[in-house]
Symmetry: C2
Subunit: 191 residues, 2 copies
């Protein structure tokens, strides 16, 4: 059960973003800029960073949502799973392997990101902005994961929930829909 | 040396917030809302949460800046130091001790925040919104700490730098000053 009263039909981050709308607005805006804004990283690559960090934080809701978004954007259901298992053997570019390593180190601690890890990314073709954005996306998903788990929000157990949510964040992005975040039609809360 | 080129005269978070202005804007806005907006927690209490989380993440720049801000807002230079050493024996209210425990647990992992820790805060008089805001402030400072350390930004060693910065965030808040974040007059970068 969530630590504070949240609507049953809005599990995970969705209820929190409706709980305090003024703080939700910049959180949504930052996410939209980083994950959907102009970038030399594809949207699918950026969702892989979100999925990997959420997985390393063991935040089931965010991991499932962003894995599904990555699957839809990449057009397969293997890559996100492989990245979560081990970025080094996943079917992604050398540049993405190096950026995913930076994201994983950021998840551990900012101080864990070494000059060697950054040099590896740069040698593989990463730009300064890509390195910057990787660290900031990883840091943002640590915020999300701590927010979602720290308030013990509900985690639906039905995979269909994440199919719907993944489709929504791929096709509508992270801004608040007019009138709020609609509840999915069928949700099994497992909290 | 920072992992990406940042201006020498803008250490810590200050250079990052000028590096990518579009993402800086919602980060600043979220911080201003949470730390300076209307709240039943005082600004000093909220800065204590920021200082404690930054200290637990070992992010020297953020710890020094928010400890100084707390000192100025609380009118003493003992409370922030005592909170960082041990919130349970610090000269703060029972409610703040319980909220600082929640913040410290959030820093470890969102999943570390127990129903018992939340019940303790509620018994000591904390509202749902105060519990929510404590978790979100703690999560936000984990973002900041990972951003600042993950890109290896410079950490001034001169305490006078943090006197200036603390005074600025107390008296001007977290929004971007017109024309940008002015460089302090004397900075010793220790990076």
């Amino acid at each position: 059960m969530p630590h504070i009263p949240l609507p049953n039909h809005l599990p995970g981050i969705t209820g929190l973003l409706e709980y305090r709308l003024d703080t939700a607005r910049p959180i949504r805006e930052l996410t939209q800029l980083l994950l959907r804004g102009d970038s030399t990283l594809t949207q699918g690559e950026r969702e892989l960073i979100a999925a990997l960090v959420s997985s390393r934080n063991h935040t089931t809701f965010c991991t499932a949502a962003h894995s599904k978004a990555a699957d839809l954007l990449l057009g397969d259901d293997k890559t996100a799973a492989a990245v979560k298992a081990d970025p080094e053997t996943a079917p992604v570019s050398d540049k993405m392997k190096a950026l995913l390593q930076i994201a994983a180190l950021t998840q551990q601690s900012g101080r864990a990101v070494t000059a060697e890890a950054v040099d590896r990314a740069r040698t593989a073709g990463a730009t300064d902005l890509e390195i910057h954005d990787t660290v900031l996306i990883a840091a943002l998903f640590c915020l999300y994961n701590k927010y979602v788990d720290g308030l013990a929000t509900a985690t639906p157990s039905d995979p269909a929930y994440y199919d719907t949510l993944g489709d929504r964040i791929v096709n509508r992005g992270y801004n608040r829909p007019p009138g709020g975040y609609p509840a999915p039609q069928s949700v099994t809360n497992n909290s």
